[in-house]
């Protein structure tokens, strides 16, 4: 198992840049994820790392070994990187055990058999060893693909939208299982996905990608609560922006009340402590930052509601006409058009400079 390092990697097709200046490090045994909408370049990044595509600038290292830089490229078959494809790409003419054994060529037949048995047990498919891929369900095929990729003990596992072909329920269960398997094998792994639930439940580190660039490389918790820019704030989780006015380095006032927390100095090069202008900013409010309180004097109109079982997600119209979201336990059943009492319950503040 080894560390993966990308340094300033770029790739383009003709004049169109696909990935630009991509840099991150994934520690040995860690699980990383590139998260982004389709066409953001995440799959291309994966193909560059796996050695199916050359890069035009920067470099890629696995452990201490340099595997890609412009003009030089270690062949994919020599990289010892396991890949799990979106469509699994199992070999249809081989049984499950022969699929898993495909990458084990330099072992004795006993050692090969032992490794195959071990992996099939790990992914829970020991009883399916002699079946062909088309006889398996989607989830089972997925696990065969994982076992096949893990079998030669690769330095790194790459997974391209690994759960996108599965139904929602199976997706959640399997992502947990796969995380367990990867951790048990102590494998360094990188997956790409457009599904943040998948990213959050699998990965130690997530890089949000947009237009070929990593917007933020961080833990799932920080991506949600401390987004580095508007795109990340928008793409990860739900929320709404409400106008606010900076009072000082730790306070910003909105029509919902005063929010306290460290305000980053991105609206003024001197920082907000020195700022006396009372800058107008946009404050990100997550649905869990606004709670329903019947005693509150602050009223908002219910404009829309989505029932989610345990809770309602209300879209609220504030007195000024701005919109905000609030997550409310589902026994507070309010009709559209009703005015309900709300208050702020945020323990930190996320602000962005207003868009002009």
């Amino acid at each position: 198992m080894a560390e993966l390092t990308l340094h300033a990697v770029s790739q383009s097709y003709g004049a169109r840049p696909i990935i630009a200046d991509l840099s991150f490090t994934l520690g040995s045994g860690e699980i990383g994820c590139l998260l982004g909408p389709s066409g953001c370049g995440k799959t291309t990044a994966l193909r560059c790392i796996s050695g199916f595509e050359a890069i035009q600038s920067g470099e890629i290292r696995i452990g201490d070994e340099l595997v890609s830089r412009p003009g030089v490229m270690q062949a994919a078959e020599q990289r010892r990187i396991g890949v799990v494809f979106q469509d699994y790409a199992l070999f249809p003419h081989l049984t499950v055990s022969k699929n898993v054994a495909f990458g084990l060529r330099n072992l004795s037949s006993e050692a090969k058999q032992a490794r195959v048995t071990e992996l099939l047990a790990l992914v829970g498919l020991a009883s399916h060893a002699d079946q062909f891929p088309h006889q398996l369900s989607g989830g089972q095929q997925q696990r065969v693909a994982l076992a096949r990729a893990l079998a030669p003990r690769p330095r790194l596992i790459l997974m391209d939208e690994p759960f996108s072909n599965l139904d929602v329920e199976l997706r959640e269960r399997l992502s947990m299982e796969v995380r367990d398997i990867l951790k048990r094998e102590a494998t360094t792994a990188l997956l790409v996905t457009h599904d943040q639930n998948e990213a959050f439940s699998m990965a130690d580190w997530v890089g949000v990608m947009h237009q070929g660039r990593i917007q933020q490389w961080d833990t799932p918790y920080n991506l949600y609560h401390k987004p580095a820019n508007r795109f990340v704030a928008d793409f990860v989780g739900q929320g709404a922006f409400v106008r606010g006015q900076v009072r000082n380095a730790r306070q910003v006032e909105t029509e919902l009340g005063m929010l306290e927390g460290l305000i980053p100095s991105d609206c003024n090069p001197l920082g907000c402590a020195q700022c006396t202008r009372g800058c107008e900013v946009d404050v990100l409010l997550r649905p869990d930052d606004i709670v329903h309180d019947d005693d509150s004097t602050l009223l908002a109109e219910v404009e829309n509601r989505a029932f989610r079982g345990a809770e309602f997600l209300y879209t609220l119209k504030l007195p000024s006409g701005q919109r905000a979201l609030s997550l409310v336990p589902s026994h507070h059943n309010h009709a559209v058009g009703e005015h309900i009492g709300i208050r702020l319950a945020a323990d930190h503040v996320v602000v962005f400079r207003q868009l002009v």
Partner: protein, 550 residues
């Protein structure tokens, strides 16, 4: 550290440097264009008398004959093919499962075989008409050696093309379209004519154009009936008038017809993609009421009996009669030549098609897809055109070679390439490349880029990938391509007849010779042999369609 440049070998990828594949595809495409060019160039050396003779006496009759032939066969196969396809794909009645594949059996019967059996059974002096005369006093009821007779025989022999393709169109979208139409208040009958039939139009058109090409290309049936069309005229110009330019000029007129059919067919195919909506819906079939069910059953049975059972029975009967005297060493010689030629052509077609498919895999964009399309156009070219189109340049090359050989080595012979199988194999290659290319290419398409990448990420070298992944995954496609090509070459008549070297008589040639002498019984044995071999692809086809359904 082992370092390679990206994208070497046969593996899919965006490679710009590997031009050899493009050059190869261009060469194969050029091979197809040779006969086209040669035939067109024939107008440069116009023999005034000959051209006058052609335009005054030959062409008008050929054009009229061809027009009625295409119209009649087109109508015949449309009615037979579409009605049977609808019954088999949408309706349910006793015996349907069995008829569904049995109705493909006439594919195994070359049209020229059906033709001479029909003439023998239905001619004035033959059993059916004699019986009608004696029992009922009916005379002059019909004349089988007529335009109607040719149209009837060709329709019975070729309807499976339309049947097969229309059936798959109806099966994938017919029932759903019909249900949608019914939910909007149309009756079933109106639903069929207003919705299901128009939706299936691109498929039917594609099948119909294949039939048109086969009809234009047909030589054997026309020869048996003595019905003059372009193919027989080219043959006559070649053998009776000994005029290569006249043959080539006729061939180029025929080529114009063919190109129209090709354009229509390709456009229909493009529409087929847009027409395929929704998932493959397994809707419930419409159960026919008892009376209708029997009617449907009887209809299918009559078509099958007339198009297949009677001809084969008659062939078997004749064969049994002449077995003792005909099944001699010469017969085995014909069979051996047929098999040997078919094997050579199959290997040639298989290898060329495989490489052409790989060229497309290496270069998905740019010129190669176009070159592939041109290279596989040969299926539309009648054998007579190809025979003329390759004989002329090879003869020219031969003369040049002979001059050279004479000057340098004191060569005494009169032919070098002409006496070999070269012209014949080239013509076979062009004519049947599409037959081999289709299954191989679609087999190769099923091996996705991810499959390649998966093998490489597991440490496969190019050779390992080809031998352990591609070869086993392609084997069924290769076998299919081989069987289809083999059978088509066995049945092929005009190319074999016109370009075979001395002593290379095949079963098809024997059939031609015996039928042109009117010795139907003695044509039966080689015909039967071809029918038996010809059943192979029909079995393959039914096996494959039932395999994809489950």
């Amino acid at each position: 550290m082992a370092v390679t440049t990206p994208g070497t070998g046969l593996i899919a990828g965006a490679g710009w440097r590997a031009h050899p594949w493009v050059v190869y595809a261009a060469c194969v495409a050029a091979l197809v264009l040779v006969p086209v060019g040669v035939n067109m160039l024939s107008f440069l050396r116009v023999d005034g008398d000959m051209l006058g003779h052609l335009t005054h006496f030959v062409l008008p009759e050929l054009l009229v004959n061809t027009f009625w032939l295409l119209l009649g066969v087109g109508l015949g196969v449309s009615v037979l093919g579409v009605s049977l396809a609808w019954l088999m794909a949408i309706c349910e009645f006793p015996g349907r499962r069995w008829f569904e594949w049995a109705l493909l059996l006439p594919l195994a019967l070359p049209a020229y075989v059906t033709a001479f059996v029909a003439i023998d059974l239905l001619d004035f002096s033959c059993p059916v008409q004699s019986w009608l005369r004696q029992a009922w006093g009916v005379t002059g009821l019909f004349e089988i050696r007529s335009r109607g007779g040719v149209v009837l025989v060709m329709s019975l022999a070729l309807y499976p093309y339309v049947y097969l393709i229309a059936k798959s169109a109806f099966a994938t979208q017919g029932a759903m379209a019909l249900e949608a139409a019914q939910s909007l208040g149309l009756t079933r009958t109106r639903g069929f004519f207003r919705v299901a039939l128009p939706m299936a139009r691109p498929w039917i058109a594609a099948g119909l154009m294949l039939v048109m090409m086969e009809t234009l290309a047909d030589f054997g049936t026309m020869a048996v009936f003595g019905y003059d069309t372009f193919t027989t005229a080219i043959y006559k110009a070649w053998y009776s008038l000994f005029s290569l330019p006249a043959a080539a000029q006729l061939a180029s007129v025929l080529l114009l017809f063919v190109l129209v059919a090709v354009v229509i067919e390709q456009r229909s195919r493009a529409h087929m993609r847009y027409g395929a909506v929704g998932r493959h819906a397994v809707s419930r079939r419409i159960p026919l009421s008892q009376g209708l069910a029997w009617l449907a059953c009887a209809y299918a049975a009559v078509v099958l009996v007339v198009a297949f059972v009677i001809p084969v029975t008659q062939l078997a009967f004749w064969s049994w009669q002449v077995m003792d005297q005909d099944l001699d060493a010469r017969y085995w010689g014909f069979a051996w030549h047929s098999v040997a030629l078919a094997v050579m052509a199959t290997v040639l077609v298989g290898v060329t098609a495989l490489l052409l498919a790989y060229a497309g895999r290496r270069h998905r964009d740019g010129a190669v897809p176009w070159l592939q399309r041109i290279a596989t156009l040969g299926y539309a070219f009648p054998g007579a055109i190809l025979a003329v189109g390759f004989f002329i340049p090879v003869a020219y090359l031969d003369n040049w070679l002979i001059d050279m050989a004479r000057a340098w080595f004191g060569f005494q012979g009169t032919e070098i390439l002409k006496g070999t199988l070269a012209v014949m194999l080239l013509a076979y290659l062009v004519r049947f490349l599409a037959v081999g290319f289709g299954p191989i290419d679609s087999g190769l398409q099923r091996i996705t880029r991810n499959t390649d990448d998966a093998a490489r990420s597991l440490g496969s070298s190019t050779w390992h990938l080809l031998s352990r992944v591609h070869w086993p995954m392609l084997s069924v496609s290769l076998q299919t391509a081989a069987v289809l090509t083999f059978v088509d070459v066995m049945k092929e008549m005009p190319i074999t007849l016109m370009t075979r070297p001395f002593g290379w008589d095949t079963l098809a040639v024997r059939v031609f010779e015996m039928t042109s002498e009117g010795e139907w019984e003695r044509a039966a044995l080689p015909s039967l042999a071809m029918v038996v071999v010809g059943i192979l692809p029909v079995l393959l086809l039914t096996w494959r369609t039932s395999a994809t359904r489950h």
